[in-house]
Amino acid sequence: MKSKSFKIIMAYVTMPLFFSLLGVGLIILISFPVLRTIFTIGSVVTSPNNNATEISSVIYDENVASEAEAVLEADNIEEIPLADVTVPANSTQYGYISCERIGLSAPLYLGDDANILRKGIGQYLGSSMPGFGKPILACGHNTTYCLPLQYITEGDIISISTNYGLYEYQVSAVEVHHMTDCSAFDLSKDEEQLILYTCYPFNLIGHKVNRLFIYANKISGADIIY
């Protein structure tokens, strides 16, 4: 009698659990098409890290850069292996860009979002770094770091100092293009060219639809072998 009562009571536990096990499988099967979409969207919109805020960092070291420049010049090194180059993550200052004649001097970051442009000149993520033999597209605000660009002319030398050496580019053209003009640059070229741009004109108050593009060809700096 007692064992029968015990069995009846246990049935209130085992039967629902058994039904649940089978039931969950069946419900997943029934709702699989919808669940699949939910999981796809879910995996896109969830992540253990909340990546909405990014903290910037600095790998550029003036002393290391000077040392690298000295060594490369002394030994007349024209090529350096990729292993000697630290490719930075986004929002990292990896260099320093300057043009002595016009007084341009700004930290150079990888990435060109709004946070970076408040701190320096930003290199577009989809362009290459100095030494990699491909176009370098960088921009800055015309009222802050890129203000001196209003004085730049053809023939000026722009320098980019990095931890793996100094790179110099000679300005070959200064042009004004509309901000939507696709022909202003070509990132698929196999030629190292620094393309610096900023809003134009400089002293006008109001939203600007034009951009001042400075095209500068590489004249010195070691090539990265990769």
Binding site: P16, G23, S47, G206, V209
Partner: protein, 284 residues
Amino acid sequence: MEATRKKKIKEYIVPGIASFILSILLTVMGYLIGTYFGLFNKALVIDAMNKSTYYESVNKYCYTEALDYLYPSNLDESVLENVFTIKNTYNQGKNYLLAVLNGDSYNINTDYVRDTLTSNIEAYIQSNNIPEESIDRGGINNLIDHICLIYSKNLSVSFLYYYNSLKAIFRQLIVYGLPALALLSIACLLVILRSNKWLHRSLRFVSYSLLAATIMTSILPLGLLISKKYQQLNVRPVYFSKMLARYLRASLNIYLVVSLILFIGALLIICVIYYKKKSLMKSM
């Protein structure tokens, strides 16, 4: 032998299967009702917006974005003073939210932003004695338009578009699916109740269904609530992510309420079983 086998099928196997099907039906109904009163409950969306500092964050975000437009325009941060106010943002945001949740359209009114920005820019030009040749009036109008657009875009909650589309589909499910599920559940109940001579034995199977449905309706929401997966939303901006997380948590709690109702139902049935059996034993 044959009679015993038939009896076993009728008294145990048939109600067992019907009970299992009933548990599935109750679970699906539970999720549908939970979704209707949870995920697609307007009050939860409004509550999440109110309690998650949403409007303050929108203001702050608009201010930062507008500042990035100001930098290249040779204008000072001071022109943004009083442009984005909590009062205006809250009113516009709430009106927009209520209208869209009701299925109506609403264009965010940016007149206040526009007027304040215009007067601030004029004041800046006057106070700094900026000559007319250094002013691009068209450019200033463009700038004001852009900033108004930022404001309107940040206040227009993009997920509401998908919310309303999904709600429309879901309404169809409720209208056709819920009655069908209810009918099938009644059919299952009838099968279970007719399968046994004694009512208390039939009701046992009903209680198994209710208990199984309780487990199945609570397992997913509990899992999400405990693992806090709903907080790991990676949608930008952060304030939007926080609002969504709050809304999802409230929605998940509704499923637990449904699960609790099913559990209470099961307990009631178990009480009825106990008293029925007792009265039967007495009468015997």
